[in-house]
């Protein structure tokens, strides 16, 4: 049985038996290599569900504030986000059924679009480790690995660490293929990094897509939107834009699961992960903590231990 067939059967059963009110999953999108989130509350509609390498959205986003009980299709990173939402008491554990899916990495369609330099991608199919793209009528073949999202290249949790039901066999866990842009950044001097971030964040149009797709950005009112007092101006002033991105990255410290949703969502192609990933690396080094792997462990920035490392505040 194909993974999609098993997924649909599981979804059907959950809905028919009343174990969930809705299945949050992916269905075919309107662009090549793009799926779109779907909300299925009728067992007759489960055949809309798909599972493939273009299921990029982190669906944990849709769990906060839901009154009903939802079954969520979850890659490793999505499931880790759900764990964080439970740990942070935003989602009740018994209100969500985690449907784990084996993930071998998501394709970054923007990278393919960029490679085509204005030529139109009309269709695309994934065949094994190849992506076959119909570019304005002619076929071009790309290696899937080359177009994986950066967060998928360093991923070491391809399967949901915690789940209620798993679709098919688990994906083979792999070691990180190595940081690409982050290791370059780490080699830079502080002033080089400063100019790098000034240039990168200078592209920001303040659409807040990074915040809106992030499952852990659930603040009822983001500091950006507060008006009494107003913390942040609304112009494209460099310092305002940076203030937003840096504050967001710091607020996610020890909470970010590196799903890469922010980078994928940015219409200007800003690799926001450069900020978050760096912060997560520090959290790992200092506290040996990775977000979203356990319900029991308290996130390091939500607790205090006498033997916490303190060099960084000297």
């Amino acid at each position: 049985m194909s993974l999609e067939t098993s997924l649909r059967e599981i979804a059907r059963k959950l809905l028919e038996e009343g174990q969930v009110d809705v299945i949050i999953g992916y269905e075919k999108g309107s662009l090549p290599l793009q799926t779109t989130p779907c909300f299925i509350d009728d067992a007759d509609d489960v055949d809309r569900l798909v599972w493939n390498e273009s299921c990029g959205n982190n669906l944990a986003k849709y769990l906060v504030d839901r009154k009903d009980k939802a079954g969520v299709v979850a890659k490793g990173c999505d499931a880790r986000s759900i764990v964080m939402l439970v740990v942070e008491k935003q989602v009740e554990r018994d209100k969500v059924v985690i449907i784990g899916v084996p993930c071998s990495g998501i394709i970054d369609r923007r990278k393919i679009v960029e490679t085509l330099e204005g030529r139109e991608m009309l269709e695309a199919t994934i065949k094994g480790d190849k992506v076959v793209v119909n570019v304005e009528g002619s076929e071009e073949v790309f290696a899937k690995e080359q177009f994986l999202c950066e967060s998928c290249q360093t991923c070491e949790h391809r399967n949901a660490p915690i789940y209620d039901v798993f679709v098919g066999e688990k994906a083979k866990e792999t070691k990180s293929m190595g940081e690409t842009s982050l290791s370059e950044l780490e080699k830079m001097t502080a002033s080089e990094r400063w100019s790098f971030f000034k240039r990168e964040l200078g592209k920001c149009i303040r659409c807040y897509a990074c915040r809106e797709v992030c499952p852990l950005c659930y603040c009822e009112e983001c500091f950006v939107d507060q008006t009494m007092p107003s913390w942040l101006g609304k112009t494209d002033d460099e310092s305002e834009v940076m203030f937003y991105h840096v504050t967001r990255a710091l607020h996610l410290a020890g909470r970010c699961v590196d799903c890469g949703a922010c980078s994928r969502a940015c219409p200007m192609g800003i690799n926001l992960r450069n900020l978050n990933r760096r912060v997560e690396k520090r959290v790992k080094e200092l506290y040996n903590y990775e977000a979203g792997l356990s319900f029991e462990e308290t996130p390091p920035l939500a607790t205090f231990k006498l033997n916490d490392p303190q060099e960084f505040i000297k």
Partner: protein, 338 residues
């Protein structure tokens, strides 16, 4: 059809001539982002881009625009008006859909009721040189909203790529003046006109998405409380991608910002997709959730704007479809309404 032609190899000369006397904005790549920006030489121009990622709207409606400047000095506040540039702006190589889009801005900013001097000054000094679309994208649906890949509406000149030369459709007097200033053009022959007409037909036929929108305004006017919005909005995450990249979205906010003793009152792009857009000082927000905000975007474009101005405020360029992080496709919404 009155027309001219210019050899392709001479087009850079034409652009450079324009640059000498005007501010010229054209499709370029900046930091790997395709957009419209001021150019200083013809070799910066990319004419093979279909629709640029960022539209040209900020040429006439900047993302941030100071409206007033204040300075506190010796216990007095001095108020200064920023100078509005009266330089002639040429929008070179813009797609016919976007050229039509400026008509939406004109209706909003230059009506008898409201005149926006800042916009009007730039608009009066603008010359639009369009580039007809030979290969519309799969996400293009201009013909469903009253446009076409060769639409002349909003352009002063319209260029059509005929291989080794461009056919130039001279649409307005403003356009004619531009042509008269240079010797690079010659009168079009019948074969040029025929070739341009053939290309227009082919381009129009290549558009796959056809949505019949007759009567959408009436339909929507009865759909404010329709339960279908509950389903439709679900996947929308409420970011500002669709509206900020939309060539016809013009909503703005006005804010005061201070830097030490200097202050400025700035107009900034705003979006109906953000909760703050309708947040009232009393604490009440009449559009409290994503449902109302997503509905507003559709209603404004396809019901309210047509009701007030007699025209749909969408040009079918497909940017909102291509860039939406969750693939919220406005074509699907329109189909479900119709």
């Amino acid at each position: 059809m009155k027309g001219k032609t210019i050899l392709k190899e001479r087009l850079p000369d034409f652009i450079d001539e324009l640059i000498r006397e005007n501010l010229v904005f054209a499709p370029v790549k900046r930091e790997n982002i395709t957009c419209f920006d001021e150019i200083s030489a013809s070799d910066e121009v990319h004419l093979n881009l279909q629709n640029t990622k960022k539209p040209s709207k900020d040429v006439l409606l900047p993302k941030c625009e100071p409206l007033l400047l204040f300075e506190a000095k010796d216990k007095k506040v001095e108020v200064k008006e920023p100078k509005i540039s009266d330089a002639r702006r040429i929008l070179f190589g813009i797609r016919p859909c976007e050229a039509r889009g400026f008509n939406v801005f004109d209706k909003a900013f230059t009506s008898d009721e409201f005149k926006d001097v800042y916009y009007m000054k730039r608009r009066e000094n603008a010359i639009v040189i369009g580039m007809a679309c030979l290969k519309p994208s799969p996400t293009c649906f201009c013909t469903s909203v009253g446009g076409s890949p060769f639409s002349r509406e909003g352009s002063d000149l319209l260029l059509v790529d005929l291989g080794d030369r461009y056919f130039v459709d001279v649409i307005t007097e403003k356009g004619e003046e531009v042509i008269e200033k240079t010797r690079l053009f010659k009168d079009a022959e019948k074969r040029d006109i025929d070739a341009a007409e053939k290309a227009a037909k082919e381009a129009e036929a290549s558009i796959k998405t056809r949505i019949r929108l007759e009567g959408i305004q009436d339909k929507l006017s009865k759909m404010f409380d329709d339960p279908s919005w509950d389903d439709l909005h679900q996947k929308c995450v409420g970011c500002g991608v669709c509206t900020f990249l939309c060539p016809t979205c013009y909503c703005f906010d006005i804010v005061d910002e201070s830097y030490g003793f200097e202050m400025r009152r700035v107009r900034v792009w705003d979006t109906c997709q953000f909760p703050l857009f309708t947040q009232q000082a009393s604490g009440v927000n009449p559009r409290p959730s994503g449902k109302e905000r997503m509905r507003q975007r559709i209603m404004h474009k396809f019901s309210y704007f047509p009701e007030v101005h007699g025209e749909i405020a969408c040009i079918g360029c497909g940017r909102c479809i291509r860039e939406c992080p969750v693939n919220f496709d406005i074509r699907e919404v329109l189909k479900s309404i119709m």
